[in-house]
């Protein structure tokens, strides 16, 4: 069902050169990539379209990445979020994981590692959606919703 689907990635970082270059590298690896430069733009973007995975910086002008993650998980829980930051603390990492962030990477990260994490995040999303569908088809709508929204 999802075997040939290209993964849609949104990169969110205020370092324009970094995000532009990283975007080009990910496109060369056959990912569909969009880029925005702060948290407000990211939240506006996901109102219009839904990426599979968001790669999110923490320290940006305006909204902090943790607040952006919280809002994404509230409004679009299916989207997987990987934090990629140059200055994340252990406390940030714990908070990001508590809020449902898929992984927490520190800049500069190896491209192969980032691509692997994006693919793992996408795979987990696919499996979650398929489980939710199976529960829903079995009539267990509440459990299906919990799985879909990644609730514990």
């Amino acid at each position: 069902m999802f075997g040939k689907k290209q993964i849609k990635v949104l990169l969110v970082d205020d370092e324009v050169e970094f995000v532009t270059t990283l975007g080009e590298r990910l496109r060369l690896r056959e990912l569909i990539v969009d880029t925005v430069f702060d948290g407000t733009q990211a939240l506006a973007f996901i109102k219009k379209t839904e990426p599979d995975v968001i790669v999110l910086d923490l320290k940006m002008p305006g909204l902090h990445g943790i607040d952006v993650l919280r809002e994404i998980k509230k409004t679009r829980p299916k989207i997987q979020v990987i934090i990629l930051t140059g200055h994340g603390t252990d406390q940030d990492e714990a908070e990001a994981r508590k809020l449902g962030g898929f992984d927490f990477l520190r800049k500069p990260a190896e491209i192969d590692l980032l691509v692997r994490k994006i693919k793992e995040a996408f795979q987990e999303k696919v499996e979650r959606v398929m489980s939710a569908i199976a529960f829903a088809e079995g009539g267990d709508i509440d459990d299906a919703k919990k799985i879909f929204n990644k609730e514990e």
Partner: protein
């Protein structure tokens, strides 16, 4: 009012050093990340047989720019290290203001604020310990900028003032309604830092603070 004690001043110096080193490391990390991605992209394109002269020239330009920015940060950190290790030897006020802005730039960008310096040429060498100056000026700058709405900022003006140097901070933009008056403890620490620096700290109604530094002649 009793002066701030040694422990409070020591904490203020440590907080200043931690904040500025943290921001500088963040900035350096970003420069390294851009360099790594730029080199990686050149390799990717070469492997895919897609590299061309224009792309290579652009990548070299970007690398050169990133290295230059990283070297600026390293230079500022080196001067900060010297300042923190100096003991009342006096300092170049113009260069210290430049470093202060460099160190605060990322913080300002994150808060959508602008910091601008207007330093009159040929400032005399300032007397006192540069660590106290940088710490105090940073505290005043951040407090002044943080009282502004996003889009605002602070203008730092430095000029000769008789036999000394006058550094004044001018908030530019719209003041936040929620901006609190400085806490008593903060004011005591600022006054104590100014006293140790041998400077005079003045607050004039409505505007930002002014620091009068003694000069070495």
């Amino acid at each position: 009012m009793p002066p701030a004690d040694d422990a409070s001043v020591e904490r203020a110096l440590r907080a200043f050093a931690a904040a500025t080193i943290g921001l500088a490391v963040h900035e350096l990390n970003n420069r390294l990340a851009v360099m790594r991605e730029t080199v990686g992209l050149m390799e990717d394109l070469a492997r895919a047989g897609k590299s061309g002269a224009a792309g290579t020239a652009r990548a070299h330009g970007s690398l050169d720019d990133q290295v230059g920015r990283a070297l600026n940060i390293v230079g500022t950190l080196a001067r900060l290290g010297s300042a923190l290790g100096a003991a009342g030897e006096g300092f170049d006020a113009g260069a210290a203001i430049g470093d202060l802005l460099g160190l605060s730039e990322r913080w300002a960008r994150q808060h959508s604020l602008r910091l601008v310096a207007d330093v009159a040429g040929n400032l005399p060498r300032a007397g006192g310990d540069p660590a106290y100056f940088l710490c105090l000026a940073h505290r005043l700058l951040v407090a002044c900028a943080a009282s502004q709405r996003a889009g605002g900022g602070v203008l730092l003006r430095a000029a000769r003032d008789g036999a000394g140097i006058r550094l004044s901070l001018h908030p530019a933009g719209e003041r936040l309604e929620s901006a609190a008056a400085p806490a008593n403890d903060d004011e005591l620490i600022n006054r104590e830092l100014a006293r140790r620096l041998g400077a005079e700290l003045l607050f004039q109604g409505g505007g930002g603070p002014t620091l009068r530094l003694a000069a070495i002649h």
